[in-house]
Symmetry: D3
Subunit: 159 residues, 6 copies
């Protein structure tokens, strides 16, 4: 937060811009984000049941998250197009729904927390799409950065 009270993506007159990062160092940067899809007990029961091939349901959401991370600069207007060197998305069925974690890694000039958040949210959206006929009230919650490393600011861990 080099300039408190200023949004770095806006010029002094308030116009949106893609901030110049050409002078930043190329270096390894990572981010880990998490989030949840809150589901009804009936929906959780289906995902846990042996009758339904749970693997493919979670597998679709996982792949959507990985592919979503690659679409980040298409979706977020002021995000830089960036090399992505590794993406992992984990989904686990819990009592309250599905827990999602994304880990993103790059060797480039900007952080990858937006890519990690995008991976989590797109995986969550795909999960809802799979389950919405059973649980139309499914809710995305608690999507946030857990940790980021690299760059001038070094390691940041969620307080």
């Amino acid at each position: 937060m080099s300039e408190p009270g200023r949004l770095t993506h806006l010029t002094e007159s308030g116009a949106a811009r893609m901030v110049d990062v050409s002078a930043k160092d190329v270096g390894v940067r990572t981010a880990r984000a998490s989030g949840r899809v809150l589901l009804s007990p009936a929906a959780v029961a289906i995902l846990r049941s042996g009758e339904v091939p749970k693997g493919d349901a979670l597998g679709v959401a996982r792949l959507a998250g990985i592919m979503g991370a690659k679409r980040t600069p298409d979706l977020i207007p002021l995000c830089h197009p960036i090399a992505l060197h590794g993406v992992e998305v984990d989904l686990a069925v819990a009592d309250a729904g599905v827990e999602i974690t994304a880990r993103v890694r790059t060797a480039d000039r900007t952080g990858v927390e937006m890519e990690a958040l995008t991976a989590v949210t797109v995986a969550a959206l795909a999960m809802i799409d799979m389950i919405k006929a059973v649980d139309p009230a499914a809710t995305i919650a608690d999507v946030r950065v857990e940790e980021k490393t690299g760059g001038k600011t070094g390691v940041w861990t969620r307080p």
Copy 2:
């Protein structure tokens, strides 16, 4: 929920598929979804301050949400490519952060709740991208369908 206990996007053997909707009626369908970006008091103060051109910050997120709705079939693996006939995204600064609502309308063969949810989440991601230098702990919460109309199931309102 025509087939309790079955995920409609999976075949009987569990393989993912894009469900055939060619026999569904073309008709007006709408969906309204909402969500929030939880922010620190300092971030809220900046968005509310007269010194910062708040309009453009929220304007970027609004536009990201509208454009995001159009990318839904690119992001959600089993979503149908669909005509979108109207999209509105509202953002309002509240004490706890930014409240987001999306309204989507179509005259096509499938519902548009995934488009509304995608509009909300992409607007939320763009909002976080704008504010993350000030508040790296910003969190997306409570993203969910509020109401949908049209199609065989008619009106559904969040219980």
Copy 3:
């Protein structure tokens, strides 16, 4: 121009929106747009010369224009995703540069003038990309709608 003095893509409070067209009739709508790439005499001479395979240079620009028309809703934030039922892009070498015309046709709920303008501009950009090593001062000029038909407003011809 149903509401003089109002930009239809903005709500009363000035927020951007994708205007609802779900109540509009499906009908055949067409648009023709034109534009030019102004080039140096040397660049025109190369395009006209028998030594250079002119066909492929113009062919690349033509195809870029056709494909560009399909990307219109990705590029123009408030444009509706729309069915495109026919696109033709013509390029002709003239003394001052390359003349471009695009004709677009649809049977859908909104006009296709933005698709025609996008086809012309993307063809022009591709033409510049081909010729820029020879003529770095190449300029796009006079990109405009020549005629549109269909919809409630019927035929409009450039005055």
Copy 4:
């Protein structure tokens, strides 16, 4: 212009190709392009009027231009996919219409003049989309590179 009379994007037999730049140096390169949307006095008056939220109209076009720059390799068939490290798009209302300037910066292997031109033209298209109900004769004019720096050829300024 290393090979006068040859289009570098075509092979000797005239086939289109993406030119190999893998041996070029990575270095900071910039480009500035400009263009105009010519509008009727009535349209200019609306943009200048206090009654209409001018900010958001220009804001939509600005954002479209920034996002358009990122789509350059999708639109221009022989353009390299390239890292973009900074993009600014300025719009100003003048008597004859809207003046647009784009500045693009990268640290990569090819110049970014096509990205700057694409930012200007997509911003211009979005501007027309916003105003076309009021001024269906709006015209894009004078889109051209003003200056580029970096690479083997160094600084080029429009003569």
Copy 5:
């Protein structure tokens, strides 16, 4: 084949165009395409082995095929953007490799054989990407339309 000896996607003078289909009837049209990825016995053994989670390997390719079908108009320059109402992609491990079948269904104005072929080829490419470290010589073979129905020409079955 209404005009023997003429390529319908080219004008009389040989220029590419997107053929006008606005006058065609909206109706149900289907296509089925198939193809194969030829693999080494070692690669087939891995896919069949219980040690490797075969499901997810084939699941990635299946999903890539479904999503690839949606990208058809982005990839094939003269293809119409079209509504897709149902897509299924099946993969089966055989002695010689992986057999792929895609079924696509729409209620629109053009046939969907290109969408079915694209689904098969993208699934095949994704399959190769998964297995290429084990079998760098993997080969795509026999990609072709098996059957199409609907439209003026009715049912066509591969001779």
Copy 6:
């Protein structure tokens, strides 16, 4: 093939991932792939005939292949987004159909064989789209990597 019997794109538990390549060296890597579109004698005769502008038919397929190479990370779920520094696609009419070769070159952290294969298959799909009204039985065959260079494994040539 560093880990025989393991698919590198799957974790030990079988979940898909984008493999981390941030520690790999940046270096020049190339790939050459080939493939064929098998056509009826009548279709070959049309492509060879002087009456039909063969150039543009093959030109469309060539451009589709080049642009397709750029879409590789959008299509192949676990492919890294990668800089492409050179792409050439050659098409030649032979007795049995059209022969396609793609050469791709990069200076980045991963190989480009998937990009070369994608260029060949997309060119083949576009070729079929051009000729399908004349030869609905056109078939894609023998798509495979011929040679790759660069990276830790060095030169690989098809056995």
